[in-house]
């Protein structure tokens, strides 16, 4: 059985819980069948096992290097990414009209989890390219679509998202990169970016940077930001690679994890090259001037779900590897047996089982959360009459989908290391790398704090709390069905319902505060509590799909649900108490006393 992902669990979530077979009866997904979905998952497992997992450690130990001109990445990454693109994964989820295969987002996410788990570092290049191609396909004009999307889909061009700058990370309103319009309709871009993954390498023929910049006279703040496509090499009329654009690197960053993905500090228009004999990096406007951030956020939301998926996948593979180790490794004896008795596998010790069950509850809860969100994307496409509701719930859940797996995935990896003991702390085993890789997820694509502000400061309060109301209705429906089902489901529903109500009360209380700073001062605690309540809800909903089915797999689901409801859900109470009390200990803190 694979220790990369659990195919059994993916099949359960997709087919026994989310009823993917029903989704496939609706356009635009009706060309697919459960059999083709199974083949796609088979293919993801095979490619990730054969080509991505084998160089996961190599990419970590031999992190990318920059010799002043060229970035060097282990060649195995190029082989794997070529096969990924040739198999059609870059194009899979895009609409048929732009050369895609119209695979549902929920299915595509399930398939991608294999690559995240097998090799997060190499997988990132492909996922960035998928997201960038998707953005250009949706927002670029016909020339940009025709020039750049096909070579991105077939893996010849890779993509990046160039948002942050040395002085502006989370605060995008403060970016200073500028774009000057030219007579031919193009722009010349000047400025420095920071923390740009995949910003330079030799893995592809060209790199397509999506760059946020300001145009002359643009208003201050986020409304003055526009989005530009800036290729590393210009593309000739016939599609061949043209002149080198003025995109270079100031250097690369050396990270704790995710080392296989080169992280760069690109420089645009610094004069190293002069395309067309003029200064500046040639850029092409996507959308209209001033609309850069909303357009980029269509990609960011996709990227944020992708981050949640990545954190989930790393949590899962850490769980599976520590489980396999605990089943094989003989160590110690059960309490009450003498020193002469044979040693037992680690898994026989209750404290080890506690750490395994916690990981299972986090990893499988996170998988349910991410694939539920992806299914909302699919529902919006398959049922236009219900798209508004699906998008509202998705918008509300997105910060949780990004952040909850990112907080609890590393925690799961932490427990996996603990199970292996000293071995887990060595580089002889994969798990310490998974932990380091996963530690990026609460940081990139909007930190945990940014997600918390997005959730409490925007999503729950917008439209008079409409999205929260819609989510609450879905939770109430699950609770009602659980009460009808009786047994443990009813028991857990009785634990969940009052906490959902309490979250609503706390939200109203926060919304009513006079001091705007006080509303979001502890937004991170709010996100933590809301995340646990949402995941508990999804555990309950999964339990209803388990129903009275027999077998170890279903018993495992029952055990993980019991763990989450009895051990995890109660931890939201102190958080909600702090929020309800409007505690100001951090808000009023004089930073000079620290």
């Amino acid at each position: 059985m694979s220790v990369i992902m659990s195919r059994r669990d993916l099949d359960f979530v997709l087919f026994e819980w989310l009823d993917t077979a029903e989704l496939l009866q609706h356009k635009p997904f009706d060309e697919h069948t459960p059999e083709t979905v199974a083949s796609v998952l088979d293919l993801a497992e095979q490619l990730s096992t054969d080509l991505f997992a084998p160089h996961n450690r190599l990419g970590d130990l031999q992190e990318p290097s920059f010799d002043g001109t060229t970035v060097h990445v282990v060649p195995e990454a190029g082989v794997a990414l070529k096969a990924f693109a040739e198999a059609g994964f870059v194009a899979a989820a895009l609409p048929e009209a732009v050369g895609g295969m119209q695979v549902p987002a929920s299915v595509f996410s399930a398939a991608l989890s294999w690559f995240h788990a097998a090799n997060a570092g190499t997988g990132a290049y492909a996922l960035l390219t998928t997201a960038a191609a998707n953005l250009i396909a949706h927002h670029g004009d016909s020339r940009l679509r025709e020039t750049f999307v096909p070579p991105m889909l077939d893996g010849h061009f890779f993509g990046t998202m160039a948002l942050s700058e040395p002085q502006a990370g989370s605060s995008l309103a403060d970016i200073t990169t500028r774009a000057e319009p030219q007579d031919d309709g193009s722009y010349r871009v000047f400025g420095r970016k920071m923390w740009i993954s995949g910003g330079d390498h030799e893995l592809s023929d060209n790199i397509v940077h999506l760059v946020l910049a300001r145009t002359p006279g643009a208003p201050a703040g986020t409304r003055g930001i526009s989005l530009f496509l800036v290729p590393k090499y210009l593309v000739a009329e016939d599609g061949s690679r043209g002149e080198r654009n003025d995109v270079t690197l100031a250097g690369i960053n050396h990270k704790m994890g995710y080392r296989g993905t080169v992280n760069t500090a690109p420089v645009f228009g610094d004069g190293a090259f002069q395309p067309g004999g003029l200064p500046g990096a040639v850029g092409y406007l996507i959308g209209s001037e001033g609309s850069g951030l909303p357009i980029m956020f269509t990609m960011m939301n996709e990227a944020r779900i992708g981050v949640g998926l990545g954190a989930t996948a790393l949590a899962t593979t850490g769980y599976l590897k520590s489980l396999a180790y605990a089943r094989e490794r003989l160590q110690g004896r059960p309490v009450g047996t003498g020193p002469g008795s044979p040693q037992v596998p680690l898994v026989e010790h209750p404290d080890i089982r506690r750490m395994l069950l916690a990981q299972k509850a986090y990893a499988e809860g996170a998988l349910a959360l991410v694939l539920y969100a992806a299914r909302l994307v699919d529902d919006a496409a398959a049922h236009p009459d219900r798209a508004d509701e699906a998008n509202a719930v998705l918008g509300l859940l997105t910060p949780i989908v990004k952040s909850w797996p990112s907080m609890w995935g590393p925690r799961a990896n932490d427990l996996a290391i603990q199970i292996l003991g000293g071995a887990g702390y060595t580089r002889d085993h994969d798990i310490e790398q998974h932990y380091r890789d996963n530690r990026l997820n609460p940081i990139h694509e909007g930190t945990h704090g940014i997600q918390a502000l997005d959730l409490l400061g925007r999503k729950v309060l917008m439209d008079q709390g409409r999205a929260l109301g819609l989510l609450g209705a879905r939770m109430a429906d699950t609770v009602q069905r659980a009460q009808t089902a009786g047994g443990p489901a009813a028991e857990y529903a009785a634990l969940l319902a009052p906490r959902v109500a309490r979250l609503g009360e706390v939200t109203k209380g926060l919304a009513g505060l006079d001091d705007p700073a006080a509303v979001t001062a502890d937004a991170s605690l709010y996100l933590d509590a809301a995340g646990h309540i949402v995941v508990a809800w999804l555990w309950l909903d999964q339990l209803l799909a388990v129903a009275d089915k027999d077998g170890p797999f279903y018993d495992g689901k029952r055990s993980a649900a019991a763990y989450f409801f009895r051990r995890e859900l109660p931890t939201v109470d102190p958080l909600l108490n702090i929020l309800a009390a409007s505690d100001r200990v951090t808000l009023d803190l004089d930073a000079s006393v620290l």
Binding site: S39, L43, Q46, A83, A87, G88
Partner: protein, 260 residues
């Protein structure tokens, strides 16, 4: 050029495989099955030949319902059509019966120019079916090909031995078995997966092939599995401490196990 590729649906070699205690046949319920990896090389070689000229590739397999997955995988790789021979009476067939069924199926498909097989299955690993099948079909058997060239009305292979390589030429039609050195099998693609849905797959019974039930299955087998023994659990490894003589110790260990 019309090519028939014979493939087998086998239990995943990475899984913990077992046998059905009642008749000592492979227990297929407890383990996932897949297209035998050695047969992927045969499919790939057929596709390369077909793509270089004109013609089509037909994939044939024998086995229970799930064996259709082996055909499906080959179709997703690019084969044109499939045949699945399935009949409850086939359960327990040996290599002799397998070659009989394949021969009957190939005759029914129509005289192909080339029949390609893997060098052996990854479960039985006997490697005798290609020779038996060639004999039944009256075709020249050109086995263990590490390189295969089709030229006009002939086929040339290279067979690698321990000390020399042989070049063997045969006239078409012929049967060629290929090794895992001959190519790098392609992965299916999304396009291949979608295209495979529309490719024809026929399921044939013994009656369709005109084969008597007594000629196949356990009753018609010339070989019999008398007993099976579970693989012993993995033993703890031996740690060699290098005190300046690590190389010698390793060499002694390998020699004691007859690896060198």
């Amino acid at each position: 050029m019309n090519i028939v590729v014979c493939v087998k649906y086998v239990p995943d070699a990475q899984a913990d495989r077992g046998f059905d205690e009642s008749d000592l046949t492979t227990n297929r319920e407890s383990v996932d099955g897949l297209l035998s990896e050695l047969d992927e090389y045969a499919v790939e070689e057929a596709l390369k030949i077909a793509e270089a000229g004109e013609g089509e590739v037909t994939v044939v397999t024998i086995g229970p319902d799930k064996a259709a997955d082996a055909v499906k995988k080959a179709l997703q790789m690019g084969a044109d059509k499939g045949v699945h021979i399935s009949d409850e009476a086939i359960r327990g067939s040996d290599a002799f019966a397998t070659s009989l069924l394949l021969a009957k199926a190939i005759e029914k498909i129509g005289a192909p120019d080339l029949v390609i097989t893997g060098m052996a299955s990854t479960d039985g690993t006997m490697g005798v079916v290609p020779a038996m099948l060639a004999e039944r079909l009256g075709l020249p058997q050109v086995t263990f090909a590490s390189e295969l060239t089709v030229d006009g009305d002939g086929v040339t292979i290279r067979r690698d031995g321990d000390t020399a390589s042989e070049t063997i030429i045969a006239k078409l039609p012929a049967l060629v078995s290929v090794t895992d050195q001959i190519n790098e099998p392609r992965y299916p693609s999304f396009k291949g997966i979608m295209a495979a849905k529309k490719k024809p797959v026929e399921t044939w019974s013994l009656a369709d092939l005109g084969v008597d039930a007594g000629a196949v299955g356990a009753a018609g087998a010339y070989t019999k599995v008398l007993s099976v023994t579970k693989r012993p659990p993995r033993e703890q490894g031996q740690i060699v401490t290098d005190e300046g003589d690590g190389g010698s110790k390793l060499a002694d260990f390998l020699a004691s196990r007859k690896f060198i």
